[in-house]
Point group: C2
Chain length 236, copies 2
Protein backbone atom coordinates (compact mmCIF):
# COMPACT_ATOMS: atom_id res chain seq x y z
CA UNK A 1 0.00 0.00 0.00
CA UNK A 2 1.86 3.02 -1.28
CA UNK A 3 0.59 5.73 1.00
CA UNK A 4 2.92 8.30 -0.46
CA UNK A 5 4.25 8.42 -3.95
CA UNK A 6 8.01 8.27 -3.70
CA UNK A 7 8.41 10.29 -6.85
CA UNK A 8 6.92 13.28 -5.10
CA UNK A 9 9.61 13.46 -2.48
CA UNK A 10 12.59 11.70 -4.03
CA UNK A 11 14.19 14.93 -5.15
CA UNK A 12 14.11 16.60 -1.73
CA UNK A 13 17.41 17.44 -0.08
CA UNK A 14 16.51 15.23 2.85
CA UNK A 15 16.63 12.20 0.61
CA UNK A 16 19.67 13.06 -1.47
CA UNK A 17 21.83 9.99 -1.90
CA UNK A 18 19.09 7.61 -0.79
CA UNK A 19 18.21 4.82 -3.21
CA UNK A 20 14.61 4.67 -4.45
CA UNK A 21 13.97 1.30 -2.78
CA UNK A 22 15.34 2.65 0.45
CA UNK A 23 13.14 5.68 0.10
CA UNK A 24 10.16 3.41 -0.07
CA UNK A 25 11.24 1.78 3.14
CA UNK A 26 11.63 5.13 4.82
CA UNK A 27 8.24 6.33 3.70
CA UNK A 28 6.59 3.20 4.98
CA UNK A 29 7.37 4.38 8.47
CA UNK A 30 5.57 7.63 7.97
CA UNK A 31 1.94 8.51 7.97
CA UNK A 32 0.48 11.60 6.44
CA UNK A 33 -1.94 14.05 7.94
CA UNK A 34 -3.77 17.18 6.97
CA UNK A 35 -3.87 20.26 9.19
CA UNK A 36 -6.43 22.92 8.43
CA UNK A 37 -5.47 26.56 8.36
CA UNK A 38 -4.70 27.97 11.81
CA UNK A 39 -4.47 24.60 13.54
CA UNK A 40 -1.55 23.76 15.79
CA UNK A 41 0.71 20.90 14.75
CA UNK A 42 2.67 20.83 17.97
CA UNK A 43 3.14 23.09 20.92
CA UNK A 44 6.34 24.40 22.42
CA UNK A 45 7.27 22.33 25.44
CA UNK A 46 5.31 19.25 24.37
CA UNK A 47 6.93 15.85 24.11
CA UNK A 48 8.70 15.59 20.79
CA UNK A 49 6.99 12.45 19.64
CA UNK A 50 7.20 13.06 15.92
CA UNK A 51 9.10 14.87 13.26
CA UNK A 52 7.61 16.23 10.09
CA UNK A 53 8.04 16.87 6.41
CA UNK A 54 5.79 19.47 4.88
CA UNK A 55 4.22 18.39 1.59
CA UNK A 56 1.73 21.17 0.93
CA UNK A 57 0.85 24.39 2.63
CA UNK A 58 2.81 26.62 4.98
CA UNK A 59 3.74 26.26 8.61
CA UNK A 60 4.86 28.91 11.03
CA UNK A 61 7.32 27.97 13.78
CA UNK A 62 7.19 30.39 16.69
CA UNK A 63 8.86 30.62 20.06
CA UNK A 64 7.11 32.06 23.08
CA UNK A 65 8.68 33.70 26.12
CA UNK A 66 7.61 32.95 29.67
CA UNK A 67 5.80 36.28 29.58
CA UNK A 68 3.90 35.47 26.44
CA UNK A 69 5.69 37.42 23.72
CA UNK A 70 6.28 35.49 20.55
CA UNK A 71 8.82 35.53 17.78
CA UNK A 72 8.52 33.76 14.49
CA UNK A 73 11.44 31.39 14.14
CA UNK A 74 10.70 30.64 10.51
CA UNK A 75 8.10 29.82 7.93
CA UNK A 76 8.32 26.28 6.66
CA UNK A 77 7.86 25.83 2.92
CA UNK A 78 6.81 22.60 1.19
CA UNK A 79 9.65 20.11 1.01
CA UNK A 80 11.21 21.24 4.27
CA UNK A 81 11.41 19.29 7.50
CA UNK A 82 10.40 20.65 10.87
CA UNK A 83 10.01 19.49 14.43
CA UNK A 84 13.47 17.88 14.39
CA UNK A 85 13.88 18.11 18.14
CA UNK A 86 15.29 14.62 18.28
CA UNK A 87 18.11 15.45 15.92
CA UNK A 88 19.42 17.91 18.43
CA UNK A 89 18.79 15.64 21.36
CA UNK A 90 15.87 17.55 22.78
CA UNK A 91 12.98 15.69 24.33
CA UNK A 92 10.57 18.57 23.90
CA UNK A 93 9.73 20.89 21.04
CA UNK A 94 11.49 24.22 21.42
CA UNK A 95 8.80 26.03 19.44
CA UNK A 96 5.18 25.87 18.39
CA UNK A 97 4.23 24.87 14.86
CA UNK A 98 1.03 26.13 13.33
CA UNK A 99 -0.41 25.67 9.85
CA UNK A 100 -0.95 29.09 8.33
CA UNK A 101 -2.67 27.52 5.35
CA UNK A 102 -4.30 24.16 4.87
CA UNK A 103 -1.28 21.88 5.02
CA UNK A 104 -0.32 18.29 4.42
CA UNK A 105 2.58 16.72 6.23
CA UNK A 106 4.38 13.42 6.54
CA UNK A 107 4.87 12.33 10.12
CA UNK A 108 7.48 9.98 11.48
CA UNK A 109 7.62 8.89 15.07
CA UNK A 110 10.71 10.32 16.73
CA UNK A 111 11.54 6.81 17.86
CA UNK A 112 12.14 5.81 14.25
CA UNK A 113 14.93 8.31 13.76
CA UNK A 114 17.85 6.37 15.28
CA UNK A 115 16.96 3.31 13.27
CA UNK A 116 16.54 5.27 10.07
CA UNK A 117 19.84 7.04 10.55
CA UNK A 118 21.61 3.78 11.19
CA UNK A 119 20.22 2.23 8.06
CA UNK A 120 20.58 5.37 5.95
CA UNK A 121 23.46 7.48 7.14
CA UNK A 122 22.79 9.91 4.34
CA UNK A 123 19.79 11.10 6.31
CA UNK A 124 22.00 12.35 9.09
CA UNK A 125 24.37 14.01 6.67
CA UNK A 126 21.52 15.68 4.81
CA UNK A 127 19.89 16.84 8.01
CA UNK A 128 23.20 18.18 9.24
CA UNK A 129 23.41 20.21 6.09
CA UNK A 130 19.92 21.56 6.58
CA UNK A 131 20.39 22.42 10.21
CA UNK A 132 23.72 24.01 9.45
CA UNK A 133 22.14 26.21 6.85
CA UNK A 134 19.46 27.25 9.29
CA UNK A 135 22.14 28.07 11.83
CA UNK A 136 23.80 30.37 9.37
CA UNK A 137 20.52 32.05 8.57
CA UNK A 138 20.00 32.50 12.25
CA UNK A 139 23.36 34.21 12.57
CA UNK A 140 22.52 36.46 9.70
CA UNK A 141 19.33 37.40 11.42
CA UNK A 142 21.21 38.23 14.60
CA UNK A 143 23.63 40.30 12.62
CA UNK A 144 20.77 42.22 11.06
CA UNK A 145 19.05 42.80 14.35
CA UNK A 146 22.29 44.11 15.78
CA UNK A 147 23.31 46.42 13.00
CA UNK A 148 20.32 47.46 10.96
CA UNK A 149 17.30 49.53 11.68
CA UNK A 150 13.79 48.37 11.45
CA UNK A 151 13.09 49.39 7.89
CA UNK A 152 16.05 47.44 6.56
CA UNK A 153 15.17 44.42 8.59
CA UNK A 154 11.63 44.39 7.28
CA UNK A 155 12.92 44.77 3.75
CA UNK A 156 15.23 41.81 4.18
CA UNK A 157 12.54 39.70 5.77
CA UNK A 158 10.06 40.32 2.98
CA UNK A 159 12.65 39.67 0.32
CA UNK A 160 13.49 36.37 1.95
CA UNK A 161 9.84 35.40 2.12
CA UNK A 162 9.45 36.36 -1.50
CA UNK A 163 12.36 34.20 -2.49
CA UNK A 164 11.18 31.27 -0.41
CA UNK A 165 7.46 31.44 -1.06
CA UNK A 166 6.88 34.13 -3.63
CA UNK A 167 4.39 33.75 -6.43
CA UNK A 168 5.28 35.73 -9.52
CA UNK A 169 2.58 38.02 -10.82
CA UNK A 170 2.67 40.53 -13.64
CA UNK A 171 2.54 43.26 -11.06
CA UNK A 172 5.27 41.86 -8.84
CA UNK A 173 5.77 39.05 -6.36
CA UNK A 174 3.09 37.97 -3.97
CA UNK A 175 3.89 36.23 -0.73
CA UNK A 176 2.04 33.02 -1.06
CA UNK A 177 0.42 32.61 2.34
CA UNK A 178 -1.45 34.75 4.83
CA UNK A 179 0.86 36.92 6.89
CA UNK A 180 -0.08 39.75 9.20
CA UNK A 181 1.75 42.88 10.28
CA UNK A 182 2.10 41.21 13.64
CA UNK A 183 3.84 38.22 12.03
CA UNK A 184 6.32 40.46 10.28
CA UNK A 185 6.95 42.29 13.52
CA UNK A 186 7.70 38.98 15.19
CA UNK A 187 10.15 38.09 12.45
CA UNK A 188 12.05 41.33 12.68
CA UNK A 189 11.99 42.18 16.34
CA UNK A 190 9.68 45.15 16.24
CA UNK A 191 6.01 45.95 16.80
CA UNK A 192 3.03 45.63 14.50
CA UNK A 193 2.59 49.40 14.71
CA UNK A 194 5.99 50.09 13.32
CA UNK A 195 5.53 47.49 10.59
CA UNK A 196 2.25 49.06 9.65
CA UNK A 197 3.77 52.53 9.45
CA UNK A 198 6.61 51.34 7.29
CA UNK A 199 4.44 49.34 4.94
CA UNK A 200 2.08 52.27 4.62
CA UNK A 201 5.04 54.38 3.65
CA UNK A 202 6.15 51.87 1.07
CA UNK A 203 2.65 51.56 -0.26
CA UNK A 204 2.40 55.29 -0.87
CA UNK A 205 5.68 55.07 -2.75
CA UNK A 206 4.29 52.24 -4.85
CA UNK A 207 6.85 49.73 -3.59
CA UNK A 208 4.29 47.28 -2.27
CA UNK A 209 0.63 46.58 -2.40
CA UNK A 210 -0.75 45.10 0.75
CA UNK A 211 -4.00 44.18 2.33
CA UNK A 212 -5.24 41.98 5.09
CA UNK A 213 -2.65 39.26 5.60
CA UNK A 214 -1.50 39.74 2.06
CA UNK A 215 1.55 41.42 0.61
CA UNK A 216 2.69 41.97 -2.94
CA UNK A 217 6.13 43.34 -3.67
CA UNK A 218 5.59 45.59 -6.64
CA UNK A 219 9.12 46.86 -6.89
CA UNK A 220 11.34 44.11 -5.50
CA UNK A 221 14.35 45.80 -6.95
CA UNK A 222 13.73 49.04 -5.11
CA UNK A 223 13.15 47.11 -1.93
CA UNK A 224 16.54 45.50 -2.35
CA UNK A 225 18.00 48.96 -2.48
CA UNK A 226 16.19 49.83 0.73
CA UNK A 227 17.44 46.67 2.37
CA UNK A 228 21.02 47.46 1.57
CA UNK A 229 20.96 51.11 2.39
CA UNK A 230 23.23 51.93 5.31
CA UNK A 231 21.86 54.02 8.19
CA UNK A 232 23.43 57.17 6.80
CA UNK A 233 23.21 56.80 3.02
CA UNK A 234 20.83 59.65 2.50
CA UNK A 235 17.20 59.22 1.45
CA UNK A 236 15.35 61.69 -0.76
Amino acid sequence: MAKVDTSLVAHLPLFAGVAPEALDEILREARSARYPKNSAIFEQGADAQSFFLLLHGHVRAAKTTPTGEQIVVRYVAPGETFGLAMAIGAARYPATAMAVDDSVVLIWPTSAWPRLVERFPALAANTLQTVGTRLQESHTRILEMSTQQVEQRIAHALLRLAKQSGKKLDQGIEIDFPISRQDIAQMTGTTLHTVSRILSGWESQGLVESGRQRIILREPHKIVVLAERTPDSGAA
Copy 2:
Protein backbone atom coordinates in the same frame (compact mmCIF):
# COMPACT_ATOMS: atom_id res chain seq x y z
CA MET B 1 53.66 8.36 16.32
CA ALA B 2 50.90 9.36 18.65
CA LYS B 3 50.65 13.06 18.00
CA VAL B 4 47.65 13.46 20.26
CA ASP B 5 46.79 11.40 23.25
CA THR B 6 43.42 9.82 22.58
CA SER B 7 42.57 9.79 26.23
CA LEU B 8 42.47 13.56 26.22
CA VAL B 9 39.70 13.78 23.71
CA ALA B 10 37.91 10.45 23.95
CA HIS B 11 35.23 11.80 26.25
CA LEU B 12 34.25 14.70 24.02
CA PRO B 13 30.72 14.75 22.61
CA LEU B 14 32.13 14.74 19.10
CA PHE B 15 33.54 11.28 19.67
CA ALA B 16 30.67 9.73 21.57
CA GLY B 17 30.05 6.23 20.31
CA VAL B 18 33.38 5.99 18.54
CA ALA B 19 35.61 3.07 19.48
CA PRO B 20 39.06 3.89 20.88
CA GLU B 21 40.85 2.28 17.94
CA ALA B 22 38.70 4.25 15.57
CA LEU B 23 39.47 7.38 17.50
CA ASP B 24 43.12 6.76 16.92
CA GLU B 25 42.47 6.50 13.23
CA ILE B 26 40.56 9.76 13.24
CA LEU B 27 43.23 11.62 15.14
CA ARG B 28 45.88 10.42 12.74
CA GLU B 29 44.30 12.61 10.13
CA ALA B 30 44.65 15.69 12.25
CA ARG B 31 47.54 17.89 13.04
CA SER B 32 47.74 20.24 15.95
CA ALA B 33 48.73 23.87 16.03
CA ARG B 34 49.19 26.63 18.49
CA TYR B 35 47.77 30.10 17.97
CA PRO B 36 49.03 32.92 20.13
CA LYS B 37 46.65 35.35 21.75
CA ASN B 38 45.01 37.70 19.28
CA SER B 39 46.01 35.77 16.19
CA ALA B 40 43.50 34.91 13.50
CA ILE B 41 42.74 31.25 12.87
CA PHE B 42 40.68 31.84 9.79
CA GLU B 43 38.97 34.77 8.16
CA GLN B 44 35.39 35.15 7.12
CA GLY B 45 35.09 34.52 3.41
CA ALA B 46 38.26 32.45 3.13
CA ASP B 47 38.25 28.97 1.64
CA ALA B 48 37.12 26.51 4.26
CA GLN B 49 40.11 24.23 4.01
CA SER B 50 40.04 22.92 7.56
CA PHE B 51 37.86 22.32 10.53
CA PHE B 52 38.98 22.58 14.11
CA LEU B 53 38.72 21.20 17.59
CA LEU B 54 39.84 23.48 20.39
CA LEU B 55 42.05 21.79 22.95
CA HIS B 56 43.22 24.71 25.08
CA GLY B 57 42.48 28.38 25.14
CA HIS B 58 39.51 30.37 23.89
CA VAL B 59 38.44 31.38 20.43
CA ARG B 60 36.05 34.08 19.36
CA ALA B 61 33.94 33.58 16.25
CA ALA B 62 32.73 36.87 14.82
CA LYS B 63 30.78 37.90 11.78
CA THR B 64 31.42 41.16 9.96
CA THR B 65 28.99 43.18 7.87
CA PRO B 66 29.88 44.68 4.52
CA THR B 67 30.13 48.01 6.32
CA GLY B 68 32.53 46.72 8.92
CA GLU B 69 30.40 46.25 11.99
CA GLN B 70 31.01 43.02 13.86
CA ILE B 71 29.01 40.74 16.04
CA VAL B 72 30.36 37.95 18.17
CA VAL B 73 28.75 34.71 17.07
CA ARG B 74 30.11 32.77 20.01
CA TYR B 75 33.08 32.03 22.17
CA VAL B 76 34.51 28.57 21.66
CA ALA B 77 35.52 26.70 24.78
CA PRO B 78 38.01 23.82 24.95
CA GLY B 79 36.49 20.60 23.67
CA GLU B 80 34.28 22.31 21.14
CA THR B 81 34.56 22.19 17.39
CA PHE B 82 34.55 25.22 15.14
CA GLY B 83 34.97 26.11 11.51
CA LEU B 84 32.55 23.38 10.45
CA ALA B 85 31.67 25.12 7.21
CA MET B 86 31.81 21.83 5.33
CA ALA B 87 29.18 20.25 7.50
CA ILE B 88 26.72 22.80 6.25
CA GLY B 89 27.94 22.58 2.71
CA ALA B 90 29.62 25.97 2.64
CA ALA B 91 32.83 26.43 0.72
CA ARG B 92 33.85 29.49 2.69
CA TYR B 93 33.94 30.35 6.35
CA PRO B 94 30.93 32.41 7.35
CA ALA B 95 32.81 34.05 10.22
CA THR B 96 36.25 34.94 11.46
CA ALA B 97 37.91 32.93 14.22
CA MET B 98 40.43 34.56 16.48
CA ALA B 99 42.31 33.21 19.49
CA VAL B 100 41.52 35.42 22.46
CA ASP B 101 44.06 33.54 24.54
CA ASP B 102 46.99 31.38 23.59
CA SER B 103 45.20 28.39 22.10
CA VAL B 104 45.90 24.90 20.88
CA VAL B 105 43.73 23.29 18.26
CA LEU B 106 43.45 20.08 16.29
CA ILE B 107 43.07 20.67 12.58
CA TRP B 108 41.55 18.36 10.01
CA PRO B 109 41.50 19.08 6.34
CA THR B 110 37.93 19.67 5.23
CA SER B 111 38.53 17.10 2.52
CA ALA B 112 38.81 14.40 5.18
CA TRP B 113 35.29 14.98 6.48
CA PRO B 114 33.30 12.93 3.93
CA ARG B 115 35.60 9.98 4.38
CA LEU B 116 35.51 10.19 8.16
CA VAL B 117 31.74 10.43 8.18
CA GLU B 118 31.43 7.43 5.93
CA ARG B 119 33.67 5.36 8.14
CA PHE B 120 32.27 6.69 11.40
CA PRO B 121 28.65 7.69 11.01
CA ALA B 122 28.55 8.61 14.68
CA LEU B 123 30.56 11.69 13.81
CA ALA B 124 27.74 13.01 11.68
CA ALA B 125 25.16 12.22 14.33
CA ASN B 126 27.23 13.89 17.04
CA THR B 127 27.88 16.93 14.92
CA LEU B 128 24.21 17.17 14.09
CA GLN B 129 23.49 17.23 17.77
CA THR B 130 26.03 19.97 18.35
CA VAL B 131 24.87 22.11 15.48
CA GLY B 132 21.27 21.61 16.53
CA THR B 133 22.06 22.82 20.00
CA ARG B 134 23.77 25.88 18.61
CA LEU B 135 20.75 26.54 16.46
CA GLN B 136 18.56 26.53 19.51
CA GLU B 137 20.90 28.85 21.33
CA SER B 138 20.78 31.11 18.35
CA HIS B 139 17.02 31.20 18.48
CA THR B 140 17.13 32.00 22.14
CA ARG B 141 19.43 34.86 21.40
CA ILE B 142 17.05 36.18 18.77
CA LEU B 143 14.21 35.88 21.23
CA GLU B 144 16.15 37.87 23.78
CA MET B 145 17.12 40.54 21.32
CA SER B 146 13.49 40.86 20.29
CA THR B 147 11.90 40.97 23.69
CA GLN B 148 14.38 42.13 26.30
CA GLN B 149 16.13 45.34 26.92
CA VAL B 150 19.82 45.82 27.01
CA GLU B 151 20.41 45.27 30.69
CA GLN B 152 18.69 41.89 30.64
CA ARG B 153 20.55 40.82 27.55
CA ILE B 154 23.88 41.66 29.09
CA ALA B 155 22.94 39.81 32.24
CA HIS B 156 22.06 36.71 30.25
CA ALA B 157 25.19 36.93 28.16
CA LEU B 158 27.46 37.16 31.17
CA LEU B 159 25.69 34.34 32.94
CA ARG B 160 26.16 32.16 29.90
CA LEU B 161 29.82 32.99 29.69
CA ALA B 162 30.16 32.25 33.37
CA LYS B 163 28.55 28.88 32.90
CA GLN B 164 30.61 28.04 29.87
CA SER B 165 33.96 29.43 30.92
CA GLY B 166 33.64 30.60 34.47
CA LYS B 167 36.36 30.06 37.04
CA LYS B 168 35.06 29.83 40.58
CA LEU B 169 36.67 32.14 43.06
CA ASP B 170 35.86 32.76 46.69
CA GLN B 171 34.54 36.15 45.69
CA GLY B 172 32.43 34.96 42.79
CA ILE B 173 32.89 33.67 39.27
CA GLU B 174 35.49 35.05 36.94
CA ILE B 175 35.16 34.83 33.20
CA ASP B 176 38.21 32.93 32.22
CA PHE B 177 39.45 34.85 29.22
CA PRO B 178 39.97 38.45 28.19
CA ILE B 179 36.76 40.13 27.14
CA SER B 180 36.17 43.80 26.51
CA ARG B 181 33.08 45.98 26.79
CA GLN B 182 33.10 46.05 23.04
CA ASP B 183 32.98 42.26 22.89
CA ILE B 184 29.99 42.18 25.20
CA ALA B 185 28.32 44.84 23.11
CA GLN B 186 28.83 42.70 20.03
CA MET B 187 27.30 39.73 21.78
CA THR B 188 24.20 41.57 22.87
CA GLY B 189 23.51 43.95 20.03
CA THR B 190 24.35 47.20 21.73
CA THR B 191 27.27 49.63 22.00
CA LEU B 192 30.32 49.56 24.20
CA HIS B 193 29.15 52.79 25.80
CA THR B 194 25.92 51.28 26.97
CA VAL B 195 27.72 48.18 28.24
CA SER B 196 30.13 50.35 30.15
CA ARG B 197 27.33 52.35 31.75
CA ILE B 198 25.50 49.23 32.82
CA LEU B 199 28.55 47.48 34.20
CA SER B 200 29.48 50.63 36.08
CA GLY B 201 26.04 50.59 37.60
CA TRP B 202 26.37 46.97 38.59
CA GLU B 203 29.80 47.58 39.99
CA SER B 204 28.54 50.31 42.27
CA GLN B 205 25.87 47.91 43.48
CA GLY B 206 28.53 45.32 44.18
CA LEU B 207 27.15 42.87 41.63
CA VAL B 208 30.33 42.62 39.63
CA GLU B 209 33.94 43.55 39.79
CA SER B 210 35.47 44.41 36.49
CA GLY B 211 38.60 45.78 35.02
CA ARG B 212 40.30 45.85 31.70
CA GLN B 213 39.08 42.85 29.72
CA ARG B 214 38.23 41.12 32.94
CA ILE B 215 34.93 40.49 34.66
CA ILE B 216 34.06 38.82 37.93
CA LEU B 217 30.48 38.12 38.82
CA ARG B 218 30.34 38.74 42.54
CA GLU B 219 26.65 38.14 42.97
CA PRO B 220 25.65 35.69 40.25
CA HIS B 221 22.38 35.09 41.97
CA LYS B 222 21.38 38.72 41.91
CA ILE B 223 22.37 38.93 38.28
CA VAL B 224 20.05 36.04 37.56
CA VAL B 225 17.28 38.08 39.10
CA LEU B 226 18.20 41.00 36.88
CA ALA B 227 18.23 38.76 33.83
CA GLU B 228 14.78 37.50 34.51
CA ARG B 229 13.19 40.74 35.46
CA THR B 230 10.50 41.76 33.02
CA PRO B 231 10.52 45.30 31.60
CA ASP B 232 7.98 46.47 34.13
CA SER B 233 8.73 44.53 37.29
CA GLY B 234 9.75 47.52 39.32
CA ALA B 235 13.29 48.17 40.50
CA ALA B 236 14.18 49.60 43.90
